[in-house]
Symmetry: C2
Subunit: 446 residues, 2 copies
């Protein structure tokens, strides 16, 4: 553990306590009569579910946001999203600084590119920059969306909606005010809404460090290995996803078929971007083919990039594992990207994060098949992956979940939010080698 | 590559060519008019499917074995099973010897327990012992089964059935002659059939090296790390599987509920053992709860042990990955079992085998959702996992597969049979370190 001016930092604990407090406060606020249109406030379990979903920027909803909540309730949700998203992004970036510094102390020479000035002033500067970026991007998004919405609704409402959906999507939160669980399906072939929101999701999902490097690129003219990897993997996933969804849904009369070519392309692009892990949608999820649903599950599981508002095992984790497999099969000793070697420690970390995630998703899926006996297996697998990766897409079973199911998904959203970072942290700060080692033994594999 | 008396050994190529030839020959034989009861011979695609399923000891069937084939056809299938099962077990054990020797040359001191006398005489001795074990175990199983079957059918038929089912199950092949795709469901609460077949599956699935060490245990009084690991993981999987299936199916009126307590226990035990990867069943798969089906998919994916007739990623691979995650989270430098350290190379090998397998299963599942549009997702996922792990259990969609689907499953059975060993082999015989190394770069994970 590291100390900063005498305060002992135990990031996972701070993260869990911080998020729990915000969720608890949010739940109480959403239970107030003033929070809901019917004047009763939300039921306890639904309030806990909604507050967790908002704070963990997931977007799974048991009640329709647009029609259930008063403006007060909506502001509570929006605040939880902003606090949860920003808080997590800052926190994860900070943790990366700490871990980066720790490594650079041990391996100073090879890590000169690292982010290694962790001082209180450094932290303040970083958080300030995160705030500025966020404000700038969210406002730009809000202006574009408000402009477009102003054709469909009164100006005041358009501005309110513009800000809500800009903030919700930059934070990869997936909440919407469109009513009737519709999300953004009304704007599937609208370039302004569709591309603005795609941009917000993309920026929110690549993480602060990458955003910052992109911003400074004009002067520095260089990107770190991390940024190169995140950008290229994200680019690949979006491209492959768009092309696959385009062809898989092209003849689906419930999704792309009735749309113009522009609509088909925009719809495919949006559905390829939203699993990274925004959770808003322009095509109705339950209408997608099983092939697209499986693809979406895989994309959601991979998720966004580290130090972002998004979830999942992360693009970089996925890339490291792919790289490790490729190197092994090709008989290379080292895993390398862009002329840089990946440390074995990073590979082990990726392995641990990914296997823990697979275990969690499978365990939750199995428990849900018990608590929700009549429901379609694919819908359940989709739901638990969406909850783990804090995506918020759903085939529509969320509102019908049993109380046990709601508790399970609440837990999964929370674990999905704090889990990967906690596991990565624990793995990085592992103890030194044991004083004695066992002799090596041999095991057959494959 | 190693040379033995001047012959260049490239095991993956030998394996692929050998299996392909046997499958091709088997397909031709099954297309002969004399092979089927209707006197037409099997259709080309169905013959290829059946021959692949038999040779790869999978057990997925597009036609019912018992009612479609003449005795000639059945003998062809049984021969393919015996050649495929025995051939693979011998071959995989041989490869383990080669790899074991390669390692022991490099790390002679730490690998004194290894199987390191690879000479032509050594190979002959090993293959002879495999043959003796097989003959002994299969005959014992056949006698027990024939005795039981003799109460239900004429003695001659009982003996024929006894041998067929003993050989099929020891080779983890999953074929049966019961008719109507029934497998062994008629014997769910029969201790003799149920326990005999369970025993055959267990022995066939732990692999020759473990069987051999168990056999020699009376004199040596010691087991290798590999055997300890395989036996304990297999034991855990069977125990956990039995208990979970017992509770998940207890109130299912289509499976366990109508049975006596003995039947419930035997049924649960059998369904926990058959995913390792026999493929015969005493409960009807399509009637199981979704929870049990997901559990079965996971158990099938893990599969049997290396150097056995079974498939899957293998129990030892699974254990190594679990051990790696546990060590990482606990902050240990080394992964260790039973006071023996696992080499990093073994962990990388496990990672590569497992990720390749996940990729294959997901890709095949996605392709099947395209070629079989109307079918239930869970049934498709179950089918592709079963084909990959050469299990042969099915929720019943095999006979209704489209031609494209049958080709896909045929390919998957073949890849599932030769794939893990090929990948493990490629990874072990990797080249030396590159002459120059890239500098290390840093990547955020989680
Ligand atoms: K989300
Ligand atoms: K089998």
């Amino acid at each position: 553990m590291k100390k900063i001016r005498g305060i002992k930092l135990d990031p996972p604990k701070i993260l869990v306590l911080g998020f729990s407090s915000v969720i608890l406060l949010g739940s109480i606020l959403l239970m107030l009569p003033v929070a809901t249109v019917d004047g009763n406030g939300l039921r306890g379990i639904d309030a806990l579910f909604t507050a967790t979903s908002a704070t963990c920027v997931t977007g799974l909803v048991v009640v329709d946001t647009g029609s259930t909540f008063t403006t007060f309730g909506e502001i509570v949700i929006l605040t939880l999203i902003q606090v949860g998203g920003l808080g997590f992004m800052s926190f994860a970036t900070l943790v990366a600084f700490i871990l980066g510094k720790k490594i650079s102390l041990k391996e100073r020479l090879i890590l000169q590119e690292s982010l290694n000035h962790l001082t209180v002033e450094g932290i303040v500067r970083m958080v300030r920059r995160i705030l500025i970026f966020t404000a700038l991007i969210e406002t730009t998004g809000a202006v574009l969306l408000s402009y477009r919405f102003s054709f469909d609704m009164p100006l005041g409402k358009a501005i309110y909606n513009g800000f809500f959906h800009s903030i919700s999507n930059f934070n990869n939160a997936g909440f919407d005010l469109m009513g009737d669980f519709r999300s953004l399906t009304g704007y599937v072939d609208d370039p302004i809404v569709s591309l603005t929101v795609s941009g917000l999701i993309f920026l929110g999902g690549i993480g602060f460090i990458v955003m910052n490097e992109l911003y400074e690129y004009r002067t520095t003219r260089k990107l770190s290995l991390h940024s190169k990897l995140v950008l290229s993997v994200t680019g690949c996933l979006i491209t492959i996803g768009t092309v696959m969804i385009f062809f898989l849904e092209y003849h689906n009369p419930k999704t792309l078929e009735p749309l113009s070519m522009t609509g088909k392309v925009l719809g495919s692009l949006y559905q390829a971007i939203t699993p990274r892990t925004a959770g808003s949608n322009t095509l109705n999820i339950a209408d997608l083919t099983q092939s697209t649903l499986l693809l979406t599950i895989i994309l959601m599981f991979i998720g966004a990039s580290p130090g972002s508002t998004g979830g999942g095992i992360k693009t970089s984790t996925f890339a490291v594992l792919l790289g490790a497999v490729k190197a092994q099969i090709k008989g290379k000793e080292d895993v390398a990207f862009f002329g840089r070697r990946v440390l074995p420690q990073t590979i082990y970390k990726s392995l641990t994060v990914t296997l823990s995630a697979i275990f969690l998703v499978l365990a939750v899926t199995m428990l849900l098949t018990i608590t929700e006996p009549g429901k379609d297996f694919l819908a359940i697998l989709f739901e638990s992956t969406s909850a783990f990766a804090t995506v918020g897409l759903s085939m529509g079973i969320t509102p019908d979940l049993s109380t046990a199911g709601k508790i399970l998904i609440t837990f999964t959203m929370f674990a999905g939010r704090v889990g990967p970072l906690t596991v990565a942290f624990a793995v990085t700060l592992r103890r030194q080698q044991d004083p004695y080692r066992y002799p090596a033994g041999k095991i057959m594999i494959g």
